[in-house]
């Protein structure tokens, strides 16, 4: 499926292998290119500055039905709007692959659920998460009860919102986090 040497220089390959290498580089590159073949050049040796808009990323079969796809794209993109370069794309799938360490995944999961980007998961973030998880089919009372229970369980410093440490301490106790926070590509 093409020669890796013609797309990246040897130095670039090495750099990718060292810094990323949780997924197969060539397979991911071709997936990225398939989204917009006319925008993405085959030759990355000059490090072209190509960004694919969010609509293309969100239309990938692995992401298009995920209720959190917008947040995922926003978190991993540089500009925070969902427009991803190849680096962002590789970053995203490497964190979501099965070989990424737990703390890395927890960090990014926290950022995904933090809708207002204030580095805390507050009650409104929780409510938005719940609504995305259940298609807004819980009644308001139920949503409030669940949010209260979550805060009770996870908020260790009792400031009414979850910080990254609270989140990570909760994730440590979750046995299947690694397998659910995982996109197969």
């Amino acid at each position: 499926m093409g020669n890796k040497q013609s797309i990246f220089t040897a130095q670039q390959l090495d750099a990718y292998q060292v810094v990323k290498c949780f997924c197969r580089l060539s397979r991911l590159f071709y997936r990225y290119r398939d989204l917009a073949p006319q925008l993405v050049p085959l030759d990355y040796t000059k490090q072209p500055d190509v960004k694919l808009p969010y609509e293309l990323i969100g239309s990938m079969p692995e992401l298009k039905d995920n209720p959190f796809r917008q947040r995922i794209a926003e978190v991993f993109s540089e500009d925070g709007e969902g427009n991803m370069s190849l680096d962002d794309f590789l970053d995203m799938f490497s964190v979501l692959s099965e070989m990424a360490p737990r703390d890395l995944k927890a960090y990014y999961a926290f950022k995904i659920y933090d809708f207002n980007n204030d580095d805390f998961i507050c009650k409104s973030d929780l409510e938005k998460t719940l609504n995305k998880l259940t298609r807004s089919e819980l009644t308001e009372d139920e949503v409030k009860m669940v949010c209260e229970k979550v805060m009770d369980e996870a908020d260790l410093d009792n400031d009414g919102r979850l910080s990254l440490e609270d989140f990570q301490h909760m994730i440590v106790r979750a046995p299947d986090f690694l397998s659910t926070f995982h996109i197969r590509i």
Partner: protein, 691 residues
């Protein structure tokens, strides 16, 4: 505390860039982009001390790993590498070679992992199932795959040590072990192939019931002889091999199950009990990012909705139950007791049905022929299957009266089904034992001569093997029949005929727990019958493979995934616990057959012994004296009692350790909460003091 300080640092850093005044991720990203050449200290919120890290390894290899685990942007990672590349001192040739080899090794490991995944049996299929139907259904298929592999390896064991040597020695025609005839001549009469014309359809009937041409074949115990081969340095005794292979087969299965349980249990202990209701777990880790497709996503969302609603409902019920008056509580408990007695009555009725059916079928077997004989042969299997189908249905209706909370209802239903299945198998075996040993009374008229009922059972082991074979086959036939006659028509009716009834009934739901119970039951039957029918593991392997494909077809064509699932009942640990129970039942049968019952005098490798185990001491006499003494010592009380006390000691120690770890986890959690409260208090104090 350190991460708190880090955050302070990074906030301070923002002050250096006057144009960008608002905090948050966008800002930090831009910051990272601009500061590509800067030092390492602008770490945003990430605490490297919490990382899993491979920091104990060689430093040069640890560095690239560290870079990978840090959540920084790609550009800055590459820039960092460049800067580090400049700073790293020139390596000697040997070290460069070592680094190169390490890199190649890592690449090889990754490649090997990929190939292993590709080669794993049905790997892609399982992935597809998991993506479309969720983890619960996938766990059933994973369990099925585990059983297929277990059975296949067991068959290889049996083949290698019993079947192939038997085959070889039979061809070679080695001397038979003569012995003094113990007992009357009439006991040694065994004619599985009566002379005379055989009707053509008899072959088919024989295939289904294990009689006729199949009876005196490698399938069953009766075909094997107590041949013994002795060469200069090589001696092989079939009876010994047969016995030890059976025992090793059981031990091997036990080890496999326990190892698999170990990994599941470790996770459960570390998380302090995963079955406890945990809202934060559901909200943050409930979503499966690997879910593909619109329908699967909607289903997962419904699933989560249902779980949350059920948990909230349980809370409400708990509050309600706590608020009941004493009289109401008494009423509820007496109602539950009544229902329990009713369920017990139903079960006992089922067991008596099996008992009488088996007795009747055994009595009729020697007197009828043709299709009628087949019907009588399969009567116990039919009654067992009918019982296993009807009684849980009735219990479900009864459970509605009992008004337990939803999760307890499911667990109680499952326990009842498990007990029903195992006890019905036990009743069948008990009935057989009853018939074979004349209710255990050796002095009874029929059993006095040979020690067992030789009239009806000239070769009782083969008969038991045949019963197990019939159960296995019937199970497979019922599954296929259900698939063809019930599930496909149901789907066609529901899809093509839109009416209220079809909407009410809906598409078939794939119920994981009862399917798993079916698997455990089949495996228990195989374990029970393996001593008497060495080819049964192979038959079971083929059966499970067929079942896998059948269930897969029905899953993708006919079923909608279960909307109401409980994690505790779909967990691998639960399946393995039930499997272990089945193993214990089978091992009781094994131990009893080996140690107590008198083997048939007319057939089999043990026909000249008082019981199957006695070939072992006899054969020990041919070993050198020292080994003999050592082995006898191992079997004596002087060894086993200290061993028993030592292992109890070790067990108590491990239990104590386990409870201590649980306590320390709880203490640490409380300490954590206390520390964060301290932190808040100090921050408040600082605020107050600075005012």
């Amino acid at each position: 505390m350190t991460s708190f300080l880090n955050r302070q640092d990074s906030y301070q850093e923002y002050d250096y860039f006057p144009g960008d005044a608002y905090p948050g991720d966008h800002h930090s990203l831009r910051l990272r982009r601009l500061s590509s050449g800067r030092s390492i200290h602008n770490i945003p919120h990430y605490n490297p001390s919490l990382s899993d890290g491979g920091d104990s390894e060689d430093d040069n290899q640890g560095q690239p790993r560290e870079l990978r685990s840090l959540p920084r942007h790609m550009a800055i990672k590459k820039a960092k590498l460049k800067s580090r590349g400049i700073q790293v001192p020139v390596l000697s040739k040997a070290e460069m070679w070592k680094q190169d080899k390490l890199k190649k090794l890592q690449k090889l490991q990754n490649k090997a992992r990929e190939i292993l995944f590709f080669l794993a049996l049905w790997g892609k299929t399982l992935q597809k199932i998991g993506g479309n139907f969720g983890g619960g259904v996938q766990s059933y298929f994973l369990f099925l795959r585990f059983l297929v592999i277990l059975n296949f390896v067991s068959f290889l064991l049996m083949a290698g040590f019993v079947i192939i040597p038997s085959l070889v020695f039979r061809q070679v025609g080695v001397s038979f072990m003569n012995s003094n005839s113990t007992g009357e001549e009439i006991c040694t009469v065994y004619e599985p192939n009566p002379p005379g014309l055989v009707v053509f359809y008899d072959y088919f009937l024989n295939l289904l019931s294990g009689t006729g041409f199949m009876e005196y074949s490698f399938m069953f115990y009766g075909y094997y002889n107590n041949t013994m081969v002795e060469d200069r340095n090589f001696s092989y005794k079939i009876p010994l091999a047969y016995l030890f292979t059976a025992i090793f087969y059981f031990a091997f299965c036990l080890i496999c199950i326990v190892t698999r349980m170990g990994s599941a249990a470790r996770v459960a202990v570390a998380t302090g009990g995963s079955t406890a209701v945990n809202y934060s777990m559901i909200v943050f880790t409930g979503w499966d990012y690997g879910c593909l497709g619109d329908t699967a996503t909607k289903l997962k969302q419904k699933n989560l909705l249902y779980r949350l609603q059920v948990d909230l409902e349980e809370e409400r019920l708990k509050k309600h139950a706590a608020s009941l008056t004493l009289l109401q509580k008494f009423g509820l408990h007496s109602l539950r007791l009544l229902m329990f007695l009713l369920v017990l009555g139903l079960n006992i009725a089922a067991f008596f049905g099996i008992f009488y059916a088996t007795r009747y079928s055994q009595a009729q077997q020697n007197q009828s022929a043709g299709i009628q004989a087949l019907f009588y042969e399969y009567l116990p299997s039919v009654v067992i299957s009918a019982g296993n189908f009807l009684v849980p249905l009735l219990c479900d209706q009864i459970a509605k009266v009992e008004r337990y909370s939803p999760s307890i209802t499911v667990i109680v239903a499952l326990l009842r089904a498990v007990v029903l299945r195992f006890v019905s198998l036990g009743v069948l075996l008990f009935t057989l034992w009853d018939q074979i040993t004349c209710k255990g009374k050796i002095n009874d008229l029929k059993c006095m001569l040979c020690g067992y009922n030789y009239e009806s059972y000239p070769c009782w082991e083969t008969r038991v093997g045949q019963e197990m074979y019939k159960l296995t086959l019937f199970d497979l036939l019922i599954n296929i029949a259900l698939l063809v006659l019930v599930e496909f028509p149901r789907r066609m009716v529901v899809d093509n005929w839109s009416s209220k009834i079809s909407q009410l009934v809906g598409r078939q739901e794939f119920v994981v727990s009862s399917s798993v119970l079916g698997l455990v039951y089949s495996q228990t039957v195989v374990w029970t019958g393996a001593l008497f029918c060495p080819l049964l593991p192979l038959i079971n392997t083929v059966k499970f493979v067929i079942l896998f494909y059948c269930k897969k077809i029905t899953l993708f064509s006919n079923c909608r995934p279960p909307q109401k699932t409980f994690r505790s009942t779909t967990s691998a640990f639960f399946f393995l616990v039930v499997l272990l129970l089945g193993w214990m039942l089978a091992s009781v049968v094994l131990i009893y057959s080996i140690a107590v019952i008198r083997p048939s005098l007319g057939c089999g490798p043990f026909r000249f012994s008082d019981n199957m185990w006695s070939v072992v001491p006899k054969s020990l006499y041919s070993l050198p004296l020292v080994t003999q003494e050592f082995l006898f010592f191992l079997g004596s009380q002087a060894f086993t009692i200290p061993l028993f006390s030592l292992s109890s000691l070790v067990m108590f120690y491990v239990i104590a350790l386990f409870s201590i770890y649980g306590k320390s986890v709880r203490l640490l959690r409380q300490q954590l909460k206390g520390e964060s409260r301290d932190k808040q208090f100090l921050v408040k104090q600082i605020g107050e003091l600075s005012q």
